[in-house]
C-alpha cells in the first residue's frame, strides 16, 4: 500500500469510528424554515428602510377588561415559535424579542440609536391583553401580550370598519402567554378593539380603546 492509499484507508477508518445517530431531519427542517423566514424578514426590512420616513413614536400601553367580540374576516394568523432573544421584525424599523420576562420592543430613534422597552408578562393579568402602539401619520405598529392558559390561534384588530390579523409569536414550550404584532398602514386615529381567539374560535380576551388615548 502506497502513501496515498494508506492515508485514504486511515481517513476512512477514522471516519468510520464516528458514531452516527439518526438524522435530525425535523430539527434541520425547522432550522431551514427559520433561516428562510429571517431572509424574508430582512428583505422586507430593506424595502421598509428604503421608504421609511423618520417617525416620531407615539406609544401607549394599557390593560382592559373584555368587551364584545368584533366581526373578523381576515384569515387565521400562524403562531411563530421563537427562541428567547430572537429578533422579530415588526415593520417600520421596529423589532421585538421575547424572554421569560416578557416582550422587548425595540424602536429606532431619530439619532440612529434604538430604544428598548419591556412589556412585562407579570404585569398582565391572566386572561387579559396588554398592547402598545408606535407610529406616525404613515402608519402604526402594534405589539402586545396575551396571557392565559390557552394558546390562541388568532389575534384580530378591528379598527373602524377595517379588520386585520396580527401575527402571534411565542416562546418554545408552554410559557403561558403569547406576544402579537401587526403593522397598520393607517395612522392611529380610530377606535380599536383587539380580540384574542382560541383554536375553536372562542374569544379568550378582548381589549378596546377609543380615540387616540
Amino acid at each position: 500500500m502506497n502513501q496515498d492509499e494508506s492515508l485514504a484507508a486511515a481517513l476512512h477508518e477514522a471516519a468510520a469510528g464516528v458514531p452516527v445517530g439518526t438524522a435530525p431531519t425535523a430539527a434541520v427542517m425547522r432550522q431551514g424554515k427559520m433561516i428562510r423566514r429571517r431572509h424574508k424578514a430582512m428583505r422586507s426590512a430593506v424595502v421598509a428602510a428604503a421608504v421609511l420616513v423618520p417617525a416620531v413614536g407615539v406609544a401607549f400601553s394599557a390593560t382592559f377588561d373584555s368587551s364584545p367580540t368584533p366581526p373578523v374576516s381576515a384569515a387565521s394568523a400562524a403562531v411563530k415559535v421563537v427562541d428567547p432573544g430572537e429578533r422579530v421584525m415588526l415593520g417600520r424599523g421596529k423589532t421585538m424579542w421575547l424572554s421569560g420576562q416578557g416582550m422587548f420592543l425595540v424602536t429606532p430613534n431619530a439619532s440612529g440609536s434604538t430604544k428598548e422597552r419591556l412589556m412585562e408578562v407579570a404585569e398582565v393579568p391572566g386572561g387579559k391583553i396588554s398592547a402598545t402602539a408606535v407610529g406616525d401619520d404613515a402608519g402604526t405598529v402594534w405589539a402586545g401580550i396575551y396571557r392565559g392558559p390557552e394558546k390562541p390561534t388568532r389575534v384580530a384588530f378591528s379598527i373602524g370598519d377595517r379588520t386585520m390579523s396580527a401575527r402571534i409569536v411565542t416562546l418554545p414550550g408552554r410559557p403561558g402567554w403569547v406576544a402579537f404584532h401587526a403593522d397598520d398602514t393607517h395612522a392611529r386615529t380610530n377606535d380599536i378593539t383587539i380580540t384574542v381567539q382560541g383554536a375553536d374560535g372562542a374569544m379568550l380576551a378582548s381589549l378596546a380603546k377609543s380615540g387616540k388615548g
Partner: protein
C-alpha cells in the same frame, strides 16, 4: 415548500447524513462540531432545496455548502478551543495502536490550516480530483494541488504518514500546551 419537497429532502438527508457527518468529523476533528456542521449545511440546503434538487449532483452540492459553512464558521471564530484526545501524560498501556494512529491522524489534521485540511480530506477521503476540489473550494486547481502537497508535508512533519506506513518511528507526541490552537495557522 410543498409536502412532496419536504419528503424528498427528508429522504435525501436520511440517506446522506452518515456520510456528511463523517466528512464533517474529518474537517472539524470533533464529533460534536461535526454534527453541528452537517446540520447547519443541511439547513442551508433546505433553504435552497429547489436549486439543490435540480443540480447535477445533489450530494456534491450539499457537500460544497458544508465546506463553505465550515469556512464561514472558521472565519467568524477568533478564539478557538483545543480539543484533544491526548493528555500530557504518557498514553495508557491498554490503548491499541489502531486507536492511537486514528487519534494522531485526527489531531494532525486539526493542526493543518483550514484550506489544507479541507483539500486533504476531500482528496483522500472523498476521492475528489483536484479540479473538483477547486470547484468546491472556489479556487484554482493549481492552488488545490499546492494545498494538498503542503497538507501532506504537515502530516509528514507530524510523523503521521510514517506511522501509517508502519514505520517504527511513532508519530510525535503533542500535548495540549505545546500545539497551536485548533484551526489557527501555524
Amino acid at each position: 415548500m410543498s409536502n412532496a419537497s419536504d419528503d424528498e429532502f427528508h429522504n435525501f438527508m436520511t440517506g446522506r447524513w452518515p456520510s456528511l457527518v463523517r466528512t464533517a468529523y474529518l474537517l472539524t476533528g470533533s464529533h460534536h462540531d461535526a454534527e453541528d456542521l452537517a446540520q447547519n449545511a443541511l439547513a442551508r440546503a433546505y433553504v435552497k432545496w429547489d436549486k439543490v434538487r435540480h443540480s447535477d449532483d445533489m450530494a456534491a452540492y450539499v457537500r460544497k455548502i458544508m465546506i463553505h459553512v465550515h469556512a464561514d464558521g472558521f472565519r467568524r471564530r477568533t478564539v478557538r478551543e483545543w480539543f484533544t484526545s491526548r493528555f500530557p501524560e504518557t498514553a495508557v498501556a491498554d490503548r491499541t495502536a489502531q486507536v492511537e494512529h486514528r487519534s494522531a491522524l485526527i489531531d494532525a489534521l486539526a493542526r493543518l490550516p483550514l484550506r489544507q485540511r479541507s483539500a486533504v480530506v476531500l482528496r483522500y477521503f472523498e476521492d475528489m480530483t483536484p479540479a473538483q476540489i477547486a470547484a468546491a473550494l472556489g479556487t484554482r486547481e493549481s492552488t488545490v494541488r499546492s494545498q494538498i502537497t503542503r497538507g501532506l508535508a504537515g502530516l509528514r512533519d507530524d510523523g503521521v504518514l510514517a506511522a501509517l506506513a508502519g514505520d517504527p518511528q511513532e508519530s510525535r507526541t503533542h500535548t495540549s500546551d505545546s500545539v497551536a490552537l485548533k484551526g489557527m495557522h501555524r
